[in-house]
């Protein structure tokens, strides 16, 4: 099955002994010249890379307050050291958040601080040489930017910020990662991560409509480019393509159908994911967000709702208004036009979970929960939702709302161990631009803490279904669950659970609607 050993699941999560350089040669494939150039980066490693890298570091220090504060403030207390899933899964000391940051910090100290310039040995300052760049490339691509470390740091130091800055520096010298940069090129050219053109998308949606009608006898529509619709749904393109994502999309469609709202997808902005965040590039992230603003303007929608995708929701919730003025407060002409157009009675943007939750609260959705009685469900809090966003506008709403939606559709729900969920949730192991097969060993090992908690729930509560609301989590779990002897089909979209139990008006089918 693989060239590496899958870690054993013990009764409790163990903190591993240090295994130096265990993952030193586990970096991902590099982007080729075409991929690099399509994003405006140098095609290959430039000759004066050291000089340019130091200049770029200086730029990030001047543009982002988080960088100098986080680099200066760390006292090396070690609070974060055993909090990273990649460290827990691999034992490689450079996967401890503080040690990962230190790759950046040691160069920062050498070039930007008094102590590091004059007493480098004393304070662990280091030169940016070839072997340091190798470490940067390997280990800044072994961080999923999940922010778990930041929850435990007494100064809130967020390794994700450092990882993003490091990737930004590496891209600037022509050392980019294939997976992220290739995908960003596709978004730029076609509009989604899959590179799925409009006709293919239209076909897929028609197929789904047929499938739903066959199952339920109800003509649930999945409209595309429907001008004048009330709601624009922005969802990760995986929802059009892969299991179990697609069952989530069917769930959203049924909820919209049942609520009677007119809604649409956009072929121009057919991607909720925004990998610009993963590589720490403000401009590329903004370009992605601008596509959505343009689609909203062109289609004349009143509301923007985001589907199940972790980092997409972080970008939408926390960054869209900053990047493009979706929401309120921006003054450029398109932003103003959009503000007039959007219905300010609703939060903009809104998460599909918030939408469904509101309908449930108002009693507008009815469920036959017994449809999910064969399941005992647990919920995986996706890192970017848990630690980079909110839902419902209430404190900790991002933890509460998805659970309430699941409980409305299922009779059997149990949480995993408290130290592995909500604010302390463990990353699935595939986030932050690492969901690629050239990082399979890392992904399998990084999933260990989550698998451990799942195993415990399976043994104590008979959990057989793992619900998630992030495309990356769903793909990652489907892939790594078998390595730990779980059924890969146990992972489901939250809206798949909704879909299976939701009672549609005019649904005459008495037979079981749809199983895995």
């Amino acid at each position: 099955m693989s060239k590496f050993d899958t870690p054993k699941l013990e009764t409790y999560l163990q903190t591993p002994a240090l295994k130096s350089d265990a993952m030193a040669s586990s970096g991902p494939f590099k982007a080729n010249a075409d991929m690099q150039k399509s994003l405006g980066f140098p095609g290959e490693k430039i000759d004066n890379w050291q000089q340019v890298a130091i200049e770029k570091m200086g730029e990030t220090i001047e543009k982002y307050r988080s960088i100098p504060v986080f680099l200066d403030a760390c006292v090396k207390c070690g609070a974060c050291a055993d909090k990273c899933h990649y460290f827990l899964g691999t034992g490689d000391p450079k996967n401890m958040p503080v040690a990962r940051q230190d790759l950046f910090r040691s160069v920062y100290r050498r070039h930007f601080t008094f102590a590091g310039k004059y007493f480098p040995k004393l304070v662990g300052a280091k030169e940016f040489d070839e072997s340091m760049l190798d470490d940067w490339y390997n280990y800044f691509h072994q961080c999923s930017e999940c922010r778990r470390c930041s929850v435990y740091c007494p100064y809130g130091i967020d390794t994700a910020e450092i990882t993003m800055a490091a990737r930004e520096v590496m891209n600037a010298i022509g050392v980019g990662q294939k997976y992220c940069n290739q995908i960003l090129g596709k978004v730029k050219k076609i509009g989604n991560n899959l590179g799925m053109p409009e006709p293919a998308l239209r076909d897929t949606l028609l197929d789904l409509e047929e499938e739903i009608e066959e199952d339920t006898g109800v003509a649930v529509k999945l409209p595309l480019d429907n001008e004048g619709a009330e709601i624009l749904l922005i969802t990760p393109s995986a929802d059009f393509f892969a299991e179990p994502h697609i069952d989530g999309l069917i769930g959203y469609a049924k909820v919209f159908h049942q609520s009677g709202a007119s809604w649409t997808l956009s072929s121009y902005a057919s991607e909720g994911a925004n990998f610009g965040m993963f590589i720490g590039n403000y401009d590329i992230m903004r370009e992605g967000a601008l596509r959505i603003r343009k689609a909203a303007l062109d289609l004349g929608v009143k509301r923007i709702i985001v589907g199940e995708c972790g980092h997409a929701w972080r970008v939408a919730y926390s960054f869209w208004n900053t990047l493009t003025g979706i929401g309120g407060g921006a003054a450029d002409e398109y932003a103003l036009q959009l503000q007039n157009q959007l219905d300010q009675n609703y939060p903009q943007p809104q998460h599909i979970i918030e939408y469904t939750y509101d309908l449930i609260q108002k009693g507008q959705l009815a469920f036959d929960k017994s449809k999910n009685d064969h399941r005992t469900v647990t919920f995986h809090d996706s890192c970017n939702v848990a630690r980079g966003s909110n839902m419902g506008g209430i404190e900790n709403g991002q933890f509460l709302l998805p659970r309430e939606v699941i409980k409305a559709a299922c009779n059997n729900f149990v949480d995993m161990s408290e130290s592995t969920i909500k604010a302390s949730t463990f990353c699935c192991g595939g986030g932050g631009g690492l969901l690629t097969d050239d990082l399979l060993e890392l992904r399998v090992k990084g999933a260990l803490p989550r698998m451990q908690a799942l195993k415990q729930s399976e043994e104590t509560s008979g959990v057989n279904t793992l619900a998630a609301l992030c495309a990356i989590c769903k793909s990652q779990f489907s892939k790594v669950l078998p390595y730990y002897d779980f059924d890969p089909f146990m992972v489901v979209s939250v809206h798949q659970l909704v879909s299976e139990a939701l009672l549609l008006d005019g649904d005459n089918s008495q037979q079981e609607s749809k199983t895995l």
Binding site: L18, P68, A73, G124, G156, D158, N321, E395
Partner: protein, 248 residues
Amino acid sequence: MSLISILFAVFFYLAVLLCLVGVALKVAQYASTPVPLKIPTAPAPLTKFGVVLRMMREVFLFASLFRASKWTWLFGWLFHWALVLLFIRHLPYFWPGEVPQILHQTEPLKYAAFPLIFGLSGLLARRFFVDRVRYISAPSDYLLLLLLIAIALTGVLMTFAHYYPDMGMVYSFAEGLITLNWSELPSESVFLAHIFMVFILIAIFPISKMLHAPGVFFSPTLNQADDARKKRHISDWAIDKERNSKSG
């Protein structure tokens, strides 16, 4: 005045100057660097008031550290609070003129020296014995702890082991530094070592990890309210970018 008194007076002013100027420059740098995105981390407060509460929990209770590691929290929290108490205990020396009544009551605070040494020793032991912490420690991390322990030990020798200097001279030297009315300092070596090390500590504050003290207040993950959908958050350079782009 003796040469040594003059030297120590000069050291003191130099150290304080380096510290104040250095910290001022760092704070100015932090304050003037934009925060382009909303990045509060969980559990994120939704309001400014919530941020104040969160910051107080972090600064006074070390709430995040408590979640992370109970031992590190115990050692670190004891050390920091003992340091605060001992700072208060030292105020009367420097108080210009009549010392307020309340500062006469600070005598018992001297016992904070023991939790201070306990906490520091615990932190040092972790650096030696926990492999993860050993891995991330640079020489400066050990040296700073050793410096603090040495300051504490010399203090303890003076306070509890009869190595005390002429207290009258200590008062007039310290007060003289503040009122610019310089006088001789006692020549006991334990005392000289104690204050010399304190001067070093003060001087290296802005070029060391002690910057975590001002830094924590500028940490965007901790000091931002999670209100992205309520209010637009934007930095100056992003506004410029927006003005220069024409895309719709």
